[in-house]
């Protein structure tokens, strides 16, 4: 197989996602180009070198078709799917995460603050009672420890929710931008 045919075959392989007639037209033009160059005494290796790596050339062409692949019906379905799923998910995810991100740290601060303050000054209300599972009730020192531990856990969880919310919003925005540009 000649060097030209080898090159054209590689380009063709890189264009395999294109409709056949489009692919053949591109190949015909490159084939003509190589002939024109050879007829003017240009060495085949120089000509092929200037055309660039066959897969890269194919990619340059494919990029054009990706931009152009504007099948409107398909885009409408894609847009609808995106907005419906993203909208539905956001409806639940965004308020939940936001609420958790605000309420959990506040609860934590209140719990820990009240417990620590209660150690030094006798605050109004009963002595600290922590109702555990299976009817177990903690008082005194163990109750303080449990409150502190849960306070810290709530606080960390709240921060995590905040970060997750930011990540979620960034992810949705990125998805949105991505396919807007694709059009």
């Amino acid at each position: 197989m000649s060097e030209m045919e080898k090159y054209l075959q590689s380009v063709s392989a890189g264009l395999n996602k294109l409709p056949e007639n489009e692919r053949n037209e591109i190949l015909a033009e490159i084939r003509n180009h190589i002939h024109e160059a050879i007829n003017r005494q240009e060495p085949i290796n120089v000509v092929i070198d200037r055309l660039g790596h066959p897969l890269r050339l194919a990619q340059s062409y494919a990029n054009i078709y990706n931009i152009e692949s504007g099948n409107k019906d398909f885009n409408i379905w894609r847009d609808m799917t995106f907005f419906f799923s993203a909208g539905l998910a956001s409806y639940v995810v965004v308020p939940t995460l936001f609420l958790m991100a605000v309420v959990l740290p506040l609860t934590s601060i209140f719990m820990v603050g009240y417990t620590l303050l209660d150690l030094f000054i006798d605050l109004p209300g009963d002595n600290l009672n922590v109702e555990m599972w299976y009817g177990l009730t903690l008082t005194g020192f163990p109750a303080i420890i449990v409150t502190l531990v849960f306070g810290v856990i709530f606080f960390i969880f709240g921060i995590l929710c905040w970060k997750l919310l930011k990540k979620y919003l960034a992810f949705i925005s990125l998805r949105y931008k991505k396919f807007r540009i694709d059009d």
């Binding site: 015909a28 033009e29 024109e36 200037r50 055309l51 660039g52 050339l57 340059s60 062409y61």
Partner: protein, 117 residues
């Protein structure tokens, strides 16, 4: 900044402009366009850039191709002509190009504030 890097940035839009300008006068095929562009060092480009660019201009409807047989045994040539839309785009480019050159000239002459644009 490297000369090649700066040129490649500047040339991005100019290459389309040059191709549209070249196809105004008469039908041109790829090899001819490359040869015409390579006559100018600052416009010189490779085939790997030109052919996909031609395809894009064709897809955008700025140029229209015609296949013509030349000599037997040689694959047909793909000639490009400017379309109506291409002509409109070229008019716009000519206008903007004029504005661009005059703006740069004014900046160079230190008359930044006196632009009428």
């Amino acid at each position: 900044m490297e000369r090649a890097e700066w040129l490649s940035q500047v040339r991005r839009g100019i290459l389309e402009y040059s191709i549209l300008l070249l196809t105004t006068k008469r039908s041109m095929y790829g090899y001819e366009l490359i040869t015409a562009l390579n006559r100018y060092d600052v416009l010189s480009t490779t085939e790997g850039t030109l052919y996909p660019l031609l395809k894009r201009l064709e897809k955008e409807g700025l140029v229209v191709p015609t296949w013509k047989e030349t000599t037997p045994g040689v694959p047909p040539r793909k000639y490009y002509d400017l379309t109506e839309k291409g002509l409109t785009t070229l008019d716009m480019m000519n206008h903007e190009w004029g504005c661009l050159v005059s703006a740069i000239t004014q900046i160079k002459n230190g008359m930044e504030g006196s632009s009428n644009e």
